[in-house]
Symmetry: D2
Subunit: 387 residues, 4 copies
């Protein structure tokens, strides 16, 4: 009964390539084995290349949320005014961290079918010149939109605030330029467009961010969530360094291989592949008469396409039919979006024209079975047109 | 150049069985896939059986230290008096967590060649009847000793304190009886005697412990380190539950398989195998004229044997020779123990008579090469005698 | 650059399931290891179940052709009159073996768009009452047709001839009833509908066939192609038996697992799945205006659908485009069929509605790119209709 | 219960490296996939480098015996006088092939504790100047000896005979120089010193050998055992070539990787490693008072050490004890040698000092348990001395 789902076309984690799985299956290593240390260093360098930064990159061991929470815990001094930008669910949730670690919350919010307007950010900084930290979600997977980070982060920089960016589902699927855009802390996850495993939290950290962490009245050290531990115990003199805790070597080995695959394909080609996949998905959805959740195509994300569930169709039933009968997993609405939308994933291994087309065809068929009036072939035909 | 080390006979993580690696290499699953949820539930039940508890078990995603720190963060109310028992390095380090989360530290300490005397614990509780939390390391891998948890935890229970036990390197290699001994929070790691991966932190939690967490003035919720999140979001009604964050499905699948292997062997047989391996290791070490670090054999741990580096031999050189020439990894002294001892690992896959004998033989040979006067064959001969 | 082809939808070998690949990746065993012998015995029993025979099954180590040639070499006495039935390329080629091993060839032939008429077989036996051996290909993959073995083999039995049936691409995709239909030697391959590896040649052998082999003037023994070696050295008393040569244990382990998967799914369900896949493929091809090679749908095979290359389209270019741009492998015309047809594979792992639909969609798109006038979506639409 | 044997220290097949197993576990490819063809070509080139030949190398799909029998079938013209050199069991068995394919047998035989004296070969050629084919086993694994191929093959060349050499267990463990020594047909197996899988039969073929095959009155073509098929269908113009049968791609991929590992280590280093392992094994056996089967150490093979079973010890019991209790597989006596000897394997992955030492230790212990009077540690001590 195992591995019922042939195709995981969800909003992530997605299927790894067979090559990445082979790397993941290598024997578990002693974390102080010189071989592993070499691989860890290599991986770190490749991440710098991925982030487009000359600054530090650390690899925390845990799901992406670990990096995001650690960023808040490590940087926010109780009482700091923190600007949180909210255009979707992940943005909305970040406020919890800010408040849990003592920040005073200021928010810029927008309708979840739109994205943040940089002008509103500028305005917020003007109103609150004492903002110390700004947090924003780059790619909102639950709603399928992309915030204009390239325009937002420079504003924070200009106003002397530390920016924390959640690029978990953006990296590899759209441009991320840490140094160029002045992102102080950029958190990613290997399990989305990179198609690796969800147990590592790579984070880029600028000098300004380290400074902020060290200057806290009680800097976070000797903790599983401490970023400073990595800086001080690992990113120090090579002879003295040691990991703050036992690393799970296999995930690093797998990520190292996944990054090789990124650069063998070419990061730009990979991003282009995601954009193409998203374009095909949108054409297919529209072709079968459905409506996209985001207000316009130009703000759509590249890792998943969020589609409104048509009148009279229960998206839960749709997903169950696809899973049970066609062995395909897609995603439903997340939290507040439940019941309103379904999500077509096309990230990493799923960002492949043939797979997107297959997904459209089987959604078409399933909707038809559920009574939605669609001419079979219309979605796929429209999708094939734009390839 | 990869996989230079043929045999990882370190103090952990150790090599997984080929079967566990195959499980680890299964395709990454969507964490809400019904198949994964079934496997997760199965794994949880097997962990209860391993812990010998009818109480709750959660599986946090991170290295074992995550569970240990989360236990402190989740239970300690600022101002709580906390008794920390110190017979080795891990015990010593736990004080950091206690202080970081606002506890008032009380300690019972002993020489690192000895173990905690339950009478001293009793005395501490008498002197400090307001102790709210007691923490203790069960198996001190750095010094190779086993604390008498079976006698210590009932004392805490009797005095109404929550006990936090670090059984990371004890579980599977020696008896652990969570319900019988009244352990409130027991933290383990899959990467030691269970020979699985080091990215999960299974923790058993008693009702009393949940109560303590809920009764904190500011309970820890919506955090990567929150145990209550698991209780409230996952261990609730089946229809409503969801993981607090994206689980790395492969590690759970691997642990599930590793636990099957435990019960196929029989937990008692597995513990006996570790005890035998440790006995062989001690006989071999003594047979070649070396001295054990622990004061007596009856307090020795079963996962690693800690041996004093003989006069005139640099343990770092010894390990390098073993690694470079014989492709064997053993462990050195950890932190304060550096330079004083080396550690022969025999946990999990390494708790195999043939492998322990091999380790002894090659240590013998290496010490001989480094000028230590040993008759070749003496260690192995002594070891073979006790098999 | 490795693993460029995402989907191998060829006429076989096809992709194994991840589970079968994991079995294939188990450590190579010593072929006399008691564990392996147990697995070998289990596999043999499962093959009997697959063949629907109570008779012997042997597993020769080599590609399926090894079994087919060994059947000729082992049974044909020089001078024996042999009836070879030819409705396609594999039937045609069998004549070489008959002649190489000294048989006198008699043939019943038909147009490659049709199948053998049992009446013609009856007639041949009447004309040549001294026929000793009859050979026939069950599923002609190159032309996509299925011979009515159920009607043909009883005729050979009635006339006292040994029947040799090539069910390599039939088994698992259509009914095969060795005992019921009186097949004396049935040769199969694991690499087609069973989706296992192409290095083993399982063969069922009836008592009559063993008798024929033993009664040859010079029985074939001590040879890589000897079937009698297996009978006499392996299918003898358990205490005395030994393999005639070193078995590659991994392939047997993989086949054993693949057979478990067959019976977990249910052999009947599996056959139905192949029939459905073939029906979808035909509907899709016809839907986009193409013509099937076989004269009528009722004689079509279930493992591959053979389609005439449309006027003006080079099937080599079509396949190259699918491979290069869409990472899909389909098959071209084999030998004499080169340039005339292309073949859509839907066997084993590829016999999955979603994959057949995907294949149709991408063929549609590719034909369109090559100038073939097809309305995009027409093939897929027709295919979705019949699911 | 699976994978009971931890260490396969048999006379082969042996355990593959984890890396080779990963290659073996790659997805099964369509054999005409351009990627596979590239890998096949690469593998062929690496085999030429391994054989040290500029001549042709083919890779037949089947166990090593397939190549050996095919060599006889392809080259021997009925009536040809064939010189078979016999110093052990494999040499002895080759006579069957010679006679089966119509050769007239001439033999030079020696005691199985010795090796062939080239002077006797010279004498045989003088007595029978019409010898057309000479066959000899290079490394006789059953008796643990190495024939002086370097001196024998030039004699055949001088006398115009085609030489067929069985280097199955020699290649990679001792020097093999196909061109330098004038070997016409050299048959090897990947499953011995190369530690890859036993389902392929690589063979080097000289121009003279091709000539002999083509000049047969009835050349062997269109047969699973035809070497000419490979020459004419595969080693022809690149545009026209095709495999004579479906290749099992995974084994080629695995062998390709195993060969990379050979050259990364360095072929000379690899041979030296095998010689060292053999030296350690002999020292250990002698050190515990046992006697080697071969008459002198200088004729001993490097892949396995054949030791006389001591008086009063049943070698079957010894092996069972090692397997059941210590999870180690060694080999017993083969065919006529049954009961007289046991065999310590140290080929491929087992040619590792630590593993040879372990093997000695556990044999020592097991013999001791079976009542053989040995001072524990004596064998290992002697072995450690010679490392």
């Amino acid at each position: 009964m195992s591995e019922h789902a042939l195709f995981n076309l969800s909003a992530g984690p997605v299927q790894a390539t067979a090559r990445t799985l082979r790397s993941l299956s290598k024997q578990i290593m002693y974390h102080n084995d010189p071989e592993f240390i070499r691989i860890f260093d290599e991986t770190t360098e490749k991440l710098q290349r991925l982030f487009k930064t000359k600054g530090d990159v650390i690899i925390m061991q845990g799901e992406a949320l670990l990096g995001l929470e650690a960023a808040a815990m490590s940087t926010i001094e109780p009482g700091d005014k923190c600007l949180n930008l909210v255009s979707g669910i992940y943005g909305h949730l970040y406020a919890y961290y800010i408040e849990a670690y003592g920040g005073r919350l200021v928010e810029v919010r927008t309708d979840y079918r739109k994205v943040i307007d940089p002008a509103d950010v500028e305005k917020a900084f003007k109103e609150h010149p004492d903002i110390k930290v700004m947090s924003v979600c780059h790619s909102e997977t639950p709603t399928g939109t992309l915030n204009p980070i390239q325009d937002i982060c420079p504003i924070a920089k200009k106003h002397g605030a530390i920016s924390i960016v959640d690029s978990v589902s953006a990296i590899g699927g759209t441009e991320v330029e840490v140094d160029e855009w002045g992102i102080d802390i950029c958190c990613i996850g290997p399990q989305k467009n990179l198609a690796s495993s969800p147990g590592l939290a790579p984070v880029s950290v600028s000098e300004a961010a380290w400074e902020k962490m060290r200057n806290k009245s009680r800097p976070v050290r000797y903790s599983y969530m401490s970023m400073l531990d990595f800086k001080e115990q690992w990113l120090c003199e090579k002879e003295k360094r040691g990991f703050p805790y036992t690393m799970f070597t296999n995930e690093v080995v797998a990520l190292n291989d996944a990054l090789d695959q990124v650069f063998e394909e070419g990061l730009d080609n990979m991003i282009a592949r995601h954009k193409t996949a998203a374009r095909i998905a949108r054409a297919g959805a529209i072709g079968m008469g459905l409506e996209l959740w985001p207000e316009s195509e130009d703000i759509c994300g590249t890792c998943a396409t969020v589609v409104k569930a048509p009148e009279g169709v229960d998206e839960v039933q749709l997903r169950r039919l696809l899973y049970d009968k066609y062995r395909i997993t897609i995603s439903g609405g997340y939290r507040d979006m439940k019941g309103k939308v379904f999500r077509m994933g096309h990230m990493g291994t799923a960002a492949e024209p043939a797979l997107v087309v297959m997904q459209i065809a089987m959604i078409e068929k399933s909707l038809h079975e559920l009574g939605y009036p669609v001419k079979l072939g219309s979605g796929v035909g429209a999708a094939l047109e734009v390839i």
